[in-house]
């Protein structure tokens, strides 16, 4: 089994897929199934762990090991699994409600610890499975069943939160950008440590069109900034726009490339030890700003598992494997005859 060359089909389980027609989740599933065989990991060594939500049904459709756990706890379940079994490739699939509402704490702690997990966060900016309430990423003012007059809460910037929580790998893509999505999945697989990917996903039933600007062929190039490492932050139909640094205000702003001003050109550096640029990009949101897609940050730091394993090894090297006899017969024992 393990030696065969795998194909996309090998990753399709026997379960009928049950998302709504037109749901962005289908495209993501297809791309994941497409990229998996390329990774050279045996199917039995892959585990998909999810919480609860439409997105979280994902594991049922992957012909790998899978665990559809409880709402918000997938990062914690996966942390335990991977600490116990660092030989496995463990993927977490979650939604914006699952990951950022009830599960926010586990997510930030996983990122902080740099547990070697791949996180796919399907952000449709709404609670799909419970039929359409606003989520922590919903735009302020969004009208839903639980916010009939518009939601009052400001949304999280998903990537800013991840960066604020010390993430070593942070990226973003869109369900409809097939190639880019594939590329991001590959990048995720190759990162050692917590690798966090936000996938902007359309929910045609409860939040149709939130990402329309990024999908409409006519205008999308003005709204998408595809990050290229080492390159300036150029976008727009004729590459005529650029995000540049205004040093007086200490912020990126959208500039016309043909008009020169006082600002500083910024070249993307995903490996910068300091997360400042990544953070500016994560926050590059607003009317005139494009949405940055790609890898905002990718730095290699020791993973939680590496450090934990190394400690165990060091102890065993220094003092030998613990035996039952040694465990029981402590030096302060005494004898009764």
């Amino acid at each position: 089994m393990s030696s065969n060359v795998l194909t996309r089909k090998d990753f399709i389980s026997d379960q009928a897929v049950r998302w709504c027609p037109g749901c962005g989740d289908y495209a993501i599933l297809a791309q994941v199934q497409k990229v998996m065989p390329e990774l050279g990991i045996d199917r039995e060594n892959i585990v998909f762990v999810s919480g609860i939500g439409c997105a979280s049904r994902f594991p049922y459709y992957m012909n790998t090991y899978g665990f559809h756990t409880i709402h918000g706890r997938a990062p914690a379940v996966a942390t335990g699994l991977h600490l116990a079994r660092p030989d496995l490739s463990v993927w977490v699939v979650t939604g914006d409600g699952d990951a950022l509402s009830i599960g926010g704490n586990h997510l930030i702690h996983m990122l902080r610890r740099n547990v070697d997990l791949k996180i796919l966060l399907f952000n449709n900016k709404v609670y799909g499975l419970t039929k359409g309430q606003f989520s922590p990423t919903s735009n302020q003012g969004m009208k839903t069943k639980s916010s009939p007059f518009g939601s009052k809460a400001r949304p999280f910037s998903t990537l800013a939160l991840a960066l604020g929580a010390e993430a070593t790998f942070v990226a973003r893509t869109v369900d409809t950008e097939t190639q880019h999505l594939q590329e991001m999945i590959r990048r995720l697989a190759n990162h050692r440590g917590s690798a966090f990917l936000e996938i902007l996903q359309n929910c045609p039933v409860f939040n149709d069109g939130v990402y329309e600007d990024l999908k409409d062929r006519k205008i999308k190039s003005d709204h998408l900034l595809i990050l290229e490492n080492g390159e300036p932050l150029v976008y727009g139909a004729d590459s005529n726009r650029e995000l540049r640094l205004d040093t007086s205000a200490m912020r990126l702003y959208p500039a016309r490339r043909d008009l020169s001003d006082d600002s500083v050109e910024v070249r993307h550096n995903e490996a910068a030890p300091d997360a400042s640029l990544a953070m500016m990009l994560a926050r590059a949101e607003g009317e005139d700003y494009p949405v940055p897609l790609g890898v905002l940050r990718a730095v290699r730091e020791p993973t939680f598992e590496e450090l934990s394993l190394a400690e165990g090894q060091a102890q065993r090297d220094a003092h030998g494997e613990g035996t039952l006899a040694e465990l029981l017969y402590s030096p302060d024992r005494w004898k009764v005859d």
Binding site: M1, S2, Q15, D42, R43, E44, N45, I46, V47, V49, I52, P59, Y60, M62, N63, T64, Y65, G66, F67, H68, T69, I70, R73, A76, V77, A78, T79, G80, L81, H82, L83, A84, R85, D87, L88, N105, H106, H109, S308, E311, G312, Q315, R316, H319, G320, E321, G322, T323, L324, A325, L327, L328, Y329, S330, D332, R333, W334, K335, V336, D337
Partner: protein, 621 residues
């Protein structure tokens, strides 16, 4: 052995000593040393440490009093004693909060040096109780320990504070003399313990010796005492607390099953020490994970269990409440998991350092839906070892969560533990499925009904599990009405069948009679000792202790019927009683203590006597 020739030495069967002082006075340390000396001398021992909730309440305050009670004996004992025969008091606050417990005529040793105006005021004494005659009921022995240590350490170059902190070793020396313990082993121990600060080691040794000598030379006591060694079964012994024994068993289980151990926990009193113990033992293949909260602790453990580790998660009351949703996942996923709850007094934050047994119902019923789990409860600190091994065996062999209900008394209490020979411990059988043919994740062992444990990494067994209702066999998500009924029964039957492997509940005393005392958990000691006392008094009383609360052992029903009366004594409002009444329709009465303190033997004896003489049941409910 040295001794004052002029003081007679009296042989006594046992003694109960309580050391009390400020949290900063080192009472726990002193108690531990005294315990070790008694153990090494072959006495049976039992201890009950009782510390305040504050880390360090202001010195001298009532809230800052810390106590350690110890009984050592030449016969078998099960508790640290109802009331102390001897009390050592290091400051006025300690006197005030503890003196009412001392037996009349008991020996009261006091450091007069600490009875200064400020301390008296902090303790709320208008007058010095050492001088106003209020202690006339006791054999008062006053020693100005504070002055003695200052003199002893003059010229050693220590700060006043450091000198003051040696007082407990002076008291220890005095007690060593009083009970004829050899000082040599202790002097060695002091040097080991303070190896990193030789000046302190030196000071403590000097002071300890001074205390010992003072006992010998001053004519303080009418008599010195000896407690003969107990006739313990032959073997190697060590002193062990409940938390240590639980942790040791967890490590032993890893070796016995030849499997890695995963321990997921979030610190909480009084469970944290298990985490501490395991964190220091990576050599035994344990991964101790300090999670961000209890929910992460339990779910990470479930993840590790899915991955094939023996997974354990530990906490106390409020943390146990937080874990319930996760436990429900383990129930439906049918994964092995041991959940330790070191119970403490509730509700809510309650009295976090005090014991209680009020989470039995929570363990049985604390989750949504019908989600049965097995429940095991250790009875004594040393029994924590066996009980934990039982819990782990049940979890992995029956593929279910097992709740392990310890409590604060067991967790911190110590007793001598006869170390089992490593080869006497049964290996733990773990069979991971590897055969792909005919596999599906919810096929079961026809006897136990346990499903297969197939772990990631096994080629051909790729499968998905989760919290939605499963179709039996295939494990596919199912909303089929009959399947749900079937699975509900299967999950219950799986737990019920654990009873097949359990030994019958042991009945101490005759198998029938006037009164059956029933208990579980840490009440074992006082109940057993009360039963002995009642039988000595000629009553037809027996004692049934339940180590397994779900399922109940199969002889329980029959046993209950053989007694005219049943009294269930618990540190709660009657949770086991509720269970027995529901299951067996037996009119069990309750003795229910909710004081954050273990039962005293006399309380149990008293309640039993009342019931035996047919006093209306209401008064002891």
């Amino acid at each position: 052995m040295s001794g004052n020739d002029e003081v007679p030495v009296e042989e006594i069967p046992s003694v109960v000593i309580r050391l009390v002082g400020d949290s900063g006075d080192g009472m726990q340390l002193t108690g531990g040393e005294l315990t070790r000396a008694a153990a090494l001398a072959g006495n049976d021992i039992a201890t009950f440490p009782d510390f305040p909730a504050e880390i360090r309440a202001p010195a001298g305050s009532l809230a800052g009093v810390s106590g350690f009670q110890l009984q050592f004996s030449s016969g078998e004992i099960f508790t640290a004693g109802d009331a102390p025969d001897v009390m050592v008091v290091m400051n006025p606050a300690a006197l005030r909060t503890n003196i009412r417990d001392l037996e009349k005529g008991g020996l009261l040793i006091v450091d007069t040096g600490a009875f200064k105006a400020k301390n008296l005021e902090l303790a709320g004494y208008a007058e010095n109780p050492l001088e106003d005659g209020s202690l006339a009921d006791y054999r008062l022995v006053v020693v100005d320990i504070s002055k003695h240590v200052t003199l002893t350490l003059k010229g050693e170059g220590l700060s006043t504070k450091d000198v003051f902190r040696t007082r407990n070793f002076y008291a220890l020396g005095l007690l060593f003399w009083l009970y004829g313990r050899s000082p040599e082993a202790e002097l060695e121990a002091i040097h080991r313990k303070f190896a990193k600060r030789p000046e302190i080691a030196n000071a403590n040794s000097k002071v300890f010796q001074a205390g010992f000598n003072f006992g010998e030379t001053a004519e303080l006591f009418e008599s010195a005492y000896r407690v003969a060694p107990a006739k313990l079964p032959a073997g190697e012994y060590r002193n062990i607390t409940g938390n240590e024994a639980s942790a040791l068993a967890i490590l032993a289980a890893g070796r016995l099953a030849d499997k890695p151990i995963f321990y997921g926990s979030y610190p909480i009193t009084p469970a944290s020490d298990i985490l501490h113990y395991l964190s220091a033992q990576p050599r035994y293949g344990v991964t101790a994970f300090q999670a961000e909260d209890e929910i992460a602790a339990v779910t990470a453990s479930i993840g590790a269990s899915f991955g094939g580790s023996i997974a354990i998660t530990g906490t106390s009351g409020p943390g146990f409440a937080l874990k319930q949703e996760g436990i429900g996942l383990a129930v439906i996923a049918e994964l092995p998991l041991v959940v330790i709850n070191v119970q403490r007094a509730g509700p809510s934050t309650g009295m976090p350092t005090k014991p209680e047994q009020s989470d039995l119902m929570q363990a049985l019923y604390g989750r949504n839906g019908e989600s049965p789990v097995a429940i095991v409860a250790p009875s004594t600190p040393a029994d924590c070892f066996d009980s934990m091994l039982d819990a782990i065996r049940i979890a992995v062999e029956h593929m279910c969560p097992v709740v392990y209900l310890s409590d604060a008394t067991l967790a911190n209490g110590a007793e001598p533990w006869r170390i089992p020979a490593p080869e006497s411990l049964q290996p733990i059988q773990v069979n991971h499925r590897i055969e792909a043919d005919g596999f599906s994740p919810y096929i079961r062992d026809p006897n136990t009904l346990a499903r297969v444990w197939a772990v990631p990494g096994t080629p051909g067994l790729e499968h998905r599990i989760g919290g939605l209702e499963k179709e039996d066999g295939s494990g596919n998500v199912s909303y089929d009405p009959e399947n749900h009924q079937h699975m509900t029964h299967i999950r219950q039957a799986k737990i019920d069948r654990i009873a097949d492997r359990l030994p019958p509940a042991e009945i101490f005393g005759d198998p029938e009679g006037d009164l059956l005392l029933v208990g579980w958990g840490s009440t074992f000691g006082p109940l057993r000792q009360a039963t002995i006392a009642l039988r000595d008094q000629g009553h037809a009383v027996s004692h049934m202790h339940l180590r397994f609360l779900n399922p109940l052992q199969s002889n329980v029903s029959e046993a209950l019927l053989k007694f005219r009366r049943v009294l269930v004594a618990e540190m709660n409002m009657g949770q086991l009683r509720t269970l027995l009444r529901d299951r067996f329709l037996v009119d069990a009465k309750g003795l229910n203590k909710m004081q954050g303190q273990p039962f005293q033997i006399r309380e149990v004896v008293h309640a039993a006597r009342e019931l035996l003489t047919e006093v209306p049941a209401e008064t002891i409910k």
